[in-house]
Amino acid sequence: MRIVALVLLLLLAGCWPSYGRVAATAINGAVVANNALVQALTDIQAKAKSQRQALMMQIAETATSKAEGEQQIKAASSKYAAVFDAFRSAEGVQNALVDALAVAQAALAAGGSPSVDRIVALYSKLQQAHGSVLGALVEVR
């Protein structure tokens, strides 16, 4: 039903009347949406890595003993483990989406009309993975 809604929307948006053209528009739209989410994930990951690094260096510079510093650095590292697990999970989902988009684009290039169902489902999973990353980041703050 949701796929039908997407196709209907694209038809109404002026992509009348060929399904192939609608599929091409939806797939290109999915690529644009994918690329925006990849950029967002990349930016968030760089910030998270930088924050983790800064926290550990701050501990190294302010700890009152070596043993205490080592313990706190290990704790800081563990605190961020779930965040980077979430990024790795997002990477797995996103790789599957890239593969599905490549297959769909190849089908379009060959004159076919690929289904957008799998792409929408994988993009939905990627949105969830992005949400998980943000949730894990909230936990460390």
């Binding site: 809604a5 290109n28 983790r52 690094q53 501990i59 190294a60």
Partner: protein
């Protein structure tokens, strides 16, 4: 207008894709035909290196 009419039956993913189509420039759509970006997660080795750097900085303060 149209998206509001059918939005209740669309998934978040469908909405995001439809929104991307509506807001993408011709250049974005043309680029989409050529380039699918890939997300690369930071490796555990990278994270371990940051931890080792911090340990080294800590050691430099106390190992004299």
């Amino acid at each position: 207008m149209m998206i509001e009419l059918i939005a209740p039956i669309m998934s978040a993913a469908s909405k995001a894709i439809a929104s991307a189509v509506r807001h993408a420039s011709d250049g974005d759509m043309a680029k989409a035909r050529r380039t699918v970006e890939r997300f690369v997660a930071v490796t555990q080795a990278d994270l371990d290196r940051d931890e080792q750097d911090a340990m080294a900085a800590l050691g430099a303060r106390f190992d004299d």
